[in-house]
């Protein structure tokens, strides 16, 4: 059986309007409540953040004033630190050439004489005389011997290469003149 709606059109329209007003009122109030809740939370959070920032700020200011009261110590420490840094760099570049001279003496055969010695960066020019060719070979072999035991400890591999630039017999002196160029590892002299 079909329902019959005998209400007039105006009454129907008024009912619909009331329904719409009711629904929109409920929805808008709910929406407002949610928005107000979110706003309240965010406001509270921002307020706390602001308070935290203020507390941190005052803490920082008090730390800064404490640091300023120790300014003279700070300046001294900074100066010392700079010089310490500079000196460690200078020391790291410093070469202990006294050890190099000792090492050469230990490796120099008695029959070889060094008359000219010129030390430059990582290289030495050596010239002199020797009794014979074998002595010069012995000098070169000693310099290049990585297991040489009679020298300064830790400098076994000091000399990296030896180049025999010239060798000639001096008949008037009855000896052999030589000229060698020796390369060495500077890192071992630090």
């Amino acid at each position: 059986m079909q329902d019959l709606n005998l209400l007039p059109q105006e009454e129907l329209s008024a009912q619909t309007e009331v329904k719409a007003v009711k629904l929109s009122t409920i929805f808008s109030i709910l929406f407002l409540v949610i928005i107000a809740g979110v706003s309240g939370y965010l406001y509270y959070r921002d307020y706390n953040h602001k308070k935290e920032m203020e507390a941190l700020g005052s803490n920082i200011v008090s730390l800064q004033s404490e640091i300023q009261s120790m300014a003279s110590v700070e300046v001294k420490a900074r100066n010392l630190d700079k010089k310490y840094f500079a000196l460690t760099q200078i020391f790291s570049k410093q070469k202990v050439y006294s050890k190099l001279l000792k090492e050469i003496r230990y490796r120099q055969p008695l029959s070889v004489d060094i008359s000219e010695f010129n030390l430059r960066i990582s290289q030495i020019d050596i010239s002199g005389t020797a009794d014979n060719y074998i002595s010069i070979a012995e000098l070169i072999n000693n310099l290049l011997n990585k297991k040489f035991s009679g020298g300064v400890s830790g400098l076994e591999g000091l000399f990296t290469s030896v180049s025999l630039n010239s060798v000639s017999m001096d008949e008037t002196q009855n000896n052999i003149r030589y000229f060698i160029v020796v390369s060495f590892n500077e890192e071992l002299l630090k």
Partner: protein
């Protein structure tokens, strides 16, 4: 007549929907003035807070370090004095030459030449990351020394130079042996000086730790160096005009 009816209808509708209208308007205002600014500024606020926390932590660390330095102030003063003897703040050429002269004569050298020249004095490069922006000037004095020695004396001389309090480095060394077997030697010696004037920068950290083992080892090494008192203000030296390349230590 019709117009009047429409107006009253609109008025009625507005009156009926007054509560939703007010609610939506209030919500809109809350979104515009509270929610949007708060959400859009969240990241910035977090960053600010983190930055402040970091700053506070670094300042606290600095305060602790400075308090420690204050506790060790005597040691700090002593170490500063020691380092000033090794790396001087001015060229102090007479003292340097006197040190070289004493080393040479104490080693048995018969000095035939003692001269010096200035290298360029330049602003030091800021390589140490403490950010204190100091006024630093680094300079170099080049000393030329020549004289007669034996081989053993030459070794002693070099050892003394290596252990001298004012840092000097032998850059070149050459000798030739004469007929009597005496070595005519010559040396190029360099010595740096560094003028540093730091400022206190409250927010920058202090890196120095006087109790650090590396620093202690370094200080002990310096303590072992031999300091030469200034003795001969009138030693005969020549200033040469030859300049040496500038040193670029910080």
């Amino acid at each position: 007549m019709n117009m009047g009816m429409d107006m009253s209808k609109v008025k009625g509708t507005i009156i009926n929907f007054i509560v939703p209208l007010i609610c939506f308007s209030a919500s809109l205002l809350l979104i515009i003035f509270i929610i949007y600014p708060s959400i859009s500024g969240t990241q910035k606020a977090k960053d600010e807070l983190n930055a402040q926390i970091q700053k506070k932590l670094s300042l606290e660390e600095k305060v602790l370090k400075l308090k420690k330095l204050v506790d060790f102030k005597t040691m700090l003063d002593e170490n500063s004095g020691l380092i000033d003897k090794v790396l001087v703040s001015e060229a102090n050429v007479p003292q340097l030459l006197d040190e070289v002269f004493q080393i040479a004569t104490n080693s048995g050298m018969k000095i035939s030449r003692l001269s010096y020249s200035f290298g360029d004095t330049t602003a030091a490069a800021e390589t140490k990351g403490s950010g204190s922006q100091p006024t630093s000037q680094v300079g170099n004095v080049a000393v030329s020394l020549a004289g007669d020695v034996s081989y053993d004396q030459m070794i002693v001389l070099l050892e003394n130079m290596e252990n001298a309090a004012r840092a000097i480095t032998t850059e070149d060394l050459r000798y030739s042996k004469n007929e009597e077997g005496v070595l005519s030697t010559s040396y190029s010696i360099g010595s740096s000086f560094l003028f540093v004037q730091s400022n206190a920068v409250t927010d920058e950290p202090v890196e120095l730790d006087v109790t650090d083992p590396n620093f202690t080892t370094f200080i002990n090494k310096i303590k072992a160096l031999k300091y030469y008192e200034f003795q001969n203000p009138n030693i005969a030296v020549i200033e040469t005009k030859q300049t040496t390349p500038s040193v670029t230590t910080p």
